[in-house]
């Protein structure tokens, strides 16, 4: 777990992108002072009609804005082997650059569906079993662990795990479906689909300006996400193995939300459960969404304004030894026929990015599991973890250095 590398390739690349050491500094310097809501990115970035590159130091789809539609497709390798994994990744690496540029992939039977300027990103991840393949046992990123069972979990095997992940996101669902199908087709010789989770997000206001967005409880969701250097320090692997430079880890939790129970809950209770106002997402101690939480403020009766079991408090870095994650959720509604009748469930496909799952996600989740008021309305019904490598140079293929 503590295996680290000082090989030149890793050092050079970290140095080049200027975040060597930033992870250690960010957690200490100036960010620990009770700031609940990191400021919005200093340079607002439009949500829609973007063009992202797969060739940056990091993959797109992690800290880029969440567009309207996202589909996560998890695959199980048919013959778990380094050879088949390499071939899959090579084929995808031929598909992803044209897809993100809005061009057909090689051997594309539906080339007219390729669309440019629709904010398409494809993010590739590798599941835990990859790091038990011959030769890869020592390539597991630091802290890349599976999530231990939580008492509020109601996990269903059909939403769990996977060896390889593709996250496809774009401004419209047709393009997402198209890209996901092309990737699924090209993976078919090597992997079968384990699960597919689709969701939507409204990350713009009526004028098209970026906003945090809301989950299906109506809560502004993601206000506390880190930004800027703090985001970098939260997300990107620190002193990674050479193959994992620019990488991060992802926890996918399918969180079912009891909307019927929520609808019956009074608005006052709803706000106390989260510790934020429903109208604009401001902390109950503040006026604006980006205001810091005041965790010591009390009301006239001496009770904390933000209750001790409020989600925003329980997940706050000040109550988690400064641990943070970067969350990226998409809303889902899922209807299936059970005993001949349609049954609809709803929730959040919750994606948590962090440098180190064991040191960041797991302790925070343990604390939420033991005392988050929101647990009465939410349950994880699926769980998976993936190592997300950095981007890949033009003409190269993703995660190639994993196999060297």
């Amino acid at each position: 777990m503590t295996e680290q590398s000082s090989e030149p390739s890793g050092v050079d690349r970290r140095h080049l992108f200027g975040y060597a050491g930033a992870a250690g500094v960010g957690a200490l310097a100036g960010f620990g002072g009770g700031r609940a809501s990191a400021p919005a990115p200093s340079v607002p970035v439009a949500v829609t009609r973007q063009t992202y590159s797969p060739h940056d130091v990091h993959q797109a789809g992690i800290v880029t804005r969440t567009p309207a539609f996202t589909q996560l497709v998890s695959f199980r390798l048919l013959q778990p082997s380094v050879d088949s994994l390499q071939k899959l990744l090579k084929l995808w690496s031929g598909d992803i650059p044209p897809l993100m540029a809005g061009k057909p992939v090689p051997a594309d039977p539906t080339p007219e569906l390729a669309q440019a300027g629709v904010s398409l990103s494809v993010t590739v991840g590798l599941g835990p079993r990859v790091f038990s393949l011959p030769g890869l046992e020592r390539k597991r990123p630091d802290g890349f662990v599976e999530i231990p069972a939580m008492q509020h979990d109601r996990l269903q095997e059909r939403w769990n795990g996977g060896d390889v992940l593709a996250i496809v996101a774009a401004d419209d669902a047709t393009t997402v479906d198209y890209a996901a199908r092309r990737l699924t087709r090209d993976a078919a010789s090597f992997a079968e689909v384990a699960w597919v989770q689709s969701g939507s997000w409204r990350g713009v206001d009526a004028s098209g300006a970026p906003v945090t967005g809301r989950n299906l409880f109506g809560q502004v969701d993601g206000s506390g996400n880190p930004a800027g250097e703090l985001l970098d320090a939260t997300v990107w692997a620190t002193d990674p193995l050479p193959w994992f430079v620019g990488g991060t880890t992802l926890v996918v939790r399918r969180i079912e939300m009891d909307l019927d129970f929520w609808d019956r809950t009074t608005r006052e209770r709803q706000e106390k459960v989260i510790g934020r106002r429903l109208d604009n997402g401001a902390p109950l101690t503040g006026q604006h969404e980006t205001d810091a939480l005041d965790l010591v403020a009390t009301d006239a009766d001496g009770r904390p304004v933000i209750p001790v079991d409020a989600h925003a408090r329980r997940s706050h870095p000040d109550e988690n030894d400064n641990r943070r994650i970067a969350r990226r959720g998409v809303n889902y509604t899922h209807t299936e026929v059970v005993d001949g009748r349609p049954v609809t469930s709803a929730g959040l496909v919750f994606q948590s990015f962090q440098a180190n799952i064991a040191q960041q996600f797991v302790p925070i989740q343990n604390r939420l599991d033991s005392g988050d008021a929101l647990n009465d309305w939410t349950h994880a019904i699926g769980s998976a973890v993936f190592a997300i490598p950095g981007g890949f140079p033009e003409g190269d293929w993703i995660a190639r250095a994993l196999f060297e």
Binding site: K87, L88, G94, P106, A107, P109, S189, F190, E394, G395
Partner: protein, 167 residues
């Protein structure tokens, strides 16, 4: 694509630099290949042959023709075109090659021009790589590494032995 481009530069710049040689570099110096792929032979009716598809981009000012191709895995390689014979599409060798117009593209696609790879010495399994060299009318050549991909469109156009001309 950078790799392809760099290979192209390596191939084409050398004659440019050593320009005393017979090669006459022309607008073809900027030729590029995009999205190459080769259809898998796994499960094919006739696994001794398949086809390569790609796009050649010619940003130059002069027309160029793709006249031939080499592949170490194939005993015979031809540039093929599809022509209409009565109400049927037939495949035949493009004796004059295929035009890459100045400032334009040549698309080698299923149902159109393709590089026919015959007398294959190995299986082309999905995910393998195939190395080809394309030769153009201006004397230039372009190496291409193409992934082998699955393609489910019915395969008669490319694998039916009957219309394949002898050379």
């Amino acid at each position: 694509m950078r790799r392809v481009l760099m290979m192209l530069v390596a191939v084409l710049v050398a004659p440019l630099v050593a320009c005393a040689s017979s090669a006459t570099p022309s607008a073809a110096a900027a030729l590029m290949v995009e999205s190459p792929w080769v259809r898998t032979t796994t499960g094919a009716k006739d696994p001794s042959m398949t086809a390569a598809f790609l796009t050649v981009v010619n940003p130059g000012a002069a027309d160029v023709r793709l006249v031939s191709a080499d592949c170490a895995d194939a005993g015979m390689v031809q540039i093929h075109e599809m022509v209409k014979s009565g109400d049927k599409m037939m495949m035949q060798e493009a004796k004059d090659g295929a035009l890459v117009p100045a400032g334009g593209h040549l698309h080698l696609t299923p149902g159109g021009y393709h590089v026919m790879l015959m007398r294959l010495s190995r299986e082309f399994a999905v995910g393998d790589s195939v190395n080809l060299t394309l030769h153009f009318s201006d004397g230039s050549s372009l190496p291409v590494t193409a992934p082998v991909k699955d393609f489910v469109e019915e395969e008669d156009h490319y694998h039916s032995p009957s219309p394949t001309p002898s050379s």
